[in-house]
């Protein structure tokens, strides 16, 4: 099968200017990323905010030059042939309210279709059909400035699909959408890939469920590096021999989660304090290790309010790879 996206040691370093007297700092946004996305795949890039997902998409869509390395999209080298790549791709970024507010929804979309050389009649029919799919059928002639952020986001999603790209990049497409709208968008994304053989979709998300539910394969990315890349099932399979417990407990009273990490059989612990209680997630090498955990809690005068054993998720895969949950990574800014 042909590769829709291929990157070879792709890196991107940003030079951040400091104050007048300070030297510019370097921020490594991507480091030696090797990635292969097959034609026809729905591929997910999963990672916390600041992991490098958007930087990678910007490079792959010709918006940003890499500092080093090479990339190919739809068979064309981005360094030498960006003009050949552009007609074959499209991109939608979530969580932003872009669009020409003075134009109606139809005009915004129609104009883009024209830039891609789609005949007016075909464009108008596609616009109508796609707007119906995302529930915007009755907003065809509404000025886009009159749309809510969520509806404008839907309009932008339609813009991405409208041009029928060979490779579509969706950067956090459900960011800012309500639960129902997110579900509709996810369903549409999956059906588009299923119904259009050979079309490739690269999706970035920091929602585990989204990656798990939608993607054929997922690359987990953190600090600009791809840590793992496989199908969601295979990524989780490695953890299935482990026992994963989620505990809601009374506040840790100064005892950090580190006290548990030293226990035999405990592979990873994450901790989140919330509303007068603490939530601990344990990845244990075997279930028997739970006894030592409970004993330690008793010694520390920590009360267990709730205990659940559960199946591994992609979040657990991320924790097992980085030692931290995505929320912890985002909070610490690592």
């Amino acid at each position: 099968m042909q590769q829709a996206i291929f990157t070879k040691k792709l890196s991107r370093i940003y030079k951040l200017r400091g104050g007048k007297k300070t030297e510019p700092k370097e921020l490594i946004a991507l480091k030696d990323v090797d990635l292969e996305v097959k034609q026809g795949e729905l591929f997910g890039l999963l990672g916390p905010n600041g992991a490098g997902k958007t930087t990678l998409i910007k490079i792959l869509t010709t918006l940003l030059a890499p500092s080093s390395g090479e990339a190919w999209v739809a068979g064309h080298n981005l360094s030498t042939d960006p003009d050949r790549v552009r007609p074959l791709i499209n991109m939608v970024s979530g969580g932003e309210s872009s669009g020409y507010g003075l134009l109606t929804v139809r005009e915004n979309l129609w104009m883009f279709a024209q830039f891609y050389g789609i005949p007016s009649q075909v464009a108008n029919q596609r616009i109508k059909d796609l707007l119906e799919v995302v529930g915007l059928g009755d907003r065809l002639n509404t000025k886009s400035s009159d749309l809510s952020t969520g509806l404008r986001q839907k309009m932008n999603i339609v813009r991405g699909f409208l041009t029928d790209p060979e490779v579509l990049f969706l950067d956090e497409p459900t960011l800012g959408l309500d639960v129902g709208a997110s579900r509709d968008v996810r369903r549409f994304i999956r059906s588009w890939v299923d119904q259009n053989e050979g079309k490739t979709l690269l999706l970035t998300t920091h929602y585990m469920v989204e990656a798990d539910e939608l993607c054929d394969r997922v690359a987990i990315i953190n600090n600009g590096q791809v840590l793992a890349c496989d199908t969601p099932a295979r990524l989780k399979r490695d953890l299935q021999k482990d026992a994963i417990f989620r505990m809601e407990v009374s506040p840790l009273n100064g005892a950090g989660a580190g006290v548990f990490e030293r226990l035999s059989g405990v592979r990873k612990v994450t901790h989140e304090a919330k509303d007068g209680s603490s939530t601990l997630e344990f990845i244990l090498a075997e279930e028997d290790a739970l006894g030592a955990v409970v004993n330690t809690m008793t010694q520390q005068d920590i009360h267990i309010l709730n205990l659940q054993k559960r199946e591994p998720t992609l979040e657990d895969v991320f924790v097992s790879l980085t030692g931290k949950s995505m929320a912890e990574v985002e909070k610490s800014g690592d």
């Binding site: 910007k58 010709t62 918006l63 090479e70 030498t80 872009s98």
Partner: protein, 298 residues
């Protein structure tokens, strides 16, 4: 060992020639929608009349105070027409560079335009069409006001309309190239870029002979004016409309109309080449710096 990436090779001439007319046409359409839709048509009409007349009135009052009302002096039509046609400079040149700022900061669509299969320099030139049209309304109203109420000696039967339209066409092309040059530079500036277009248009006002002959400038500054195509264009536009009166000043009196057209053509070609080369460099730099979609919220 990583491979150091060379500059993106970005073709100035698109690989699919069909992109050019398509890009120009729909960029012009978009520009017109933006220019004409921001206000109610009645408000837009009022604005279109009041703005140019107010601008001209400031100049007329200043002239009147300084010369004690010497409207019969050939200096007046020289200044008045220079000022009227200079409206195109702000409209087209600054307008094209403004399109980059608008798309990037306000509509946040620059990145989507940029990755679309369009020829971006042509897109920017297309966005200038609407500015040319709205600018033309202002120029027409300003000149009509001058002829009707201030005795600007324009005789529509005596005007050289052939020269006028040739000069206008060349001038619009030249201003489009200057706009592309400025727009390209705008791509690699993200902070405090809002005033760039107006600042450059304002600075060129001094050196183009728009409101005073170049002889008024210190000798060491005059070459700036002589090097600028704007100077020759404004002279041609004046000559086309008011003929000999425009030749009353020594600046370019030694040049025939054909010579001026030749100089305008040559300087326009130079500006055009410089604009495309600058675009090529700035496009590469903007991608290297990550500025194509940089929003400052300034």
């Amino acid at each position: 060992m990583t491979t150091k990436t060379s500059a993106y090779k970005h073709s100035l001439i698109p690989q699919n020639p069909g992109w050019l007319p398509r890009t120009f046409r729909f960029a012009a359409w978009l520009g017109w929608q933006i220019e004409s839709n921001w206000a109610d048509p009645f408000v837009f009409a009022i604005y279109s009349v009041i703005k140019p007349i107010s601008s001209a009135a400031i100049l007329v009052v200043m002239y009147s105070v300084i010369t004690k009302g010497a409207f019969e002096n050939p200096v007046f039509p020289y200044i008045y027409l220079g000022n009227a046609f200079y409206i195109y400079v702000g409209a087209i040149m600054a307008g094209i560079s403004w399109a980059v700022i608008e798309d990037r900061e306000h509509y946040r669509m620059l990145k989507y335009m940029y990755i679309a299969p369009l020829h971006y320099p042509t897109y920017l030139l297309g966005r200038g069409v609407a500015r040319f049209l709205t600018g033309s309304i202002s120029v027409f109203i300003t000149i009509a006001f001058g002829v009707l109420f201030l005795n600007v000696p324009l005789n529509i039967y005596a005007a050289d309309w052939g020269l006028f339209f040739v000069s206008l066409g060349l001038g619009v092309l030249m201003l489009g190239f200057m706009g592309l040059l400025l727009g390209s530079i705008t791509m690699v500036i993200v902070n405090h870029v809002w005033f760039l277009g107006e600042a450059v248009a304002g600075a060129l006002f001094l050196f183009s002979g728009a409101i005073f002959p170049l002889e008024v400038l210190p000798a060491w500054l005059r070459p700036v004016g002589y090097a600028m195509p704007l100077t020759y264009w404004l002279e041609l536009m004046r000559r086309a409309l008011i003929g000999d009166v425009a030749r009353a000043f020594p600046t370019l009196a030694g040049f025939s109309n054909m010579e001026l057209i030749g100089i305008l053509l040559a300087t326009t070609a130079v500006i055009g080449l410089a604009a495309f080369l600058t675009y090529r460099y700035c496009d590469y730099r903007a991608r290297e710096l990550g500025y194509i979609d940089r929003v400052t919220n300034y």
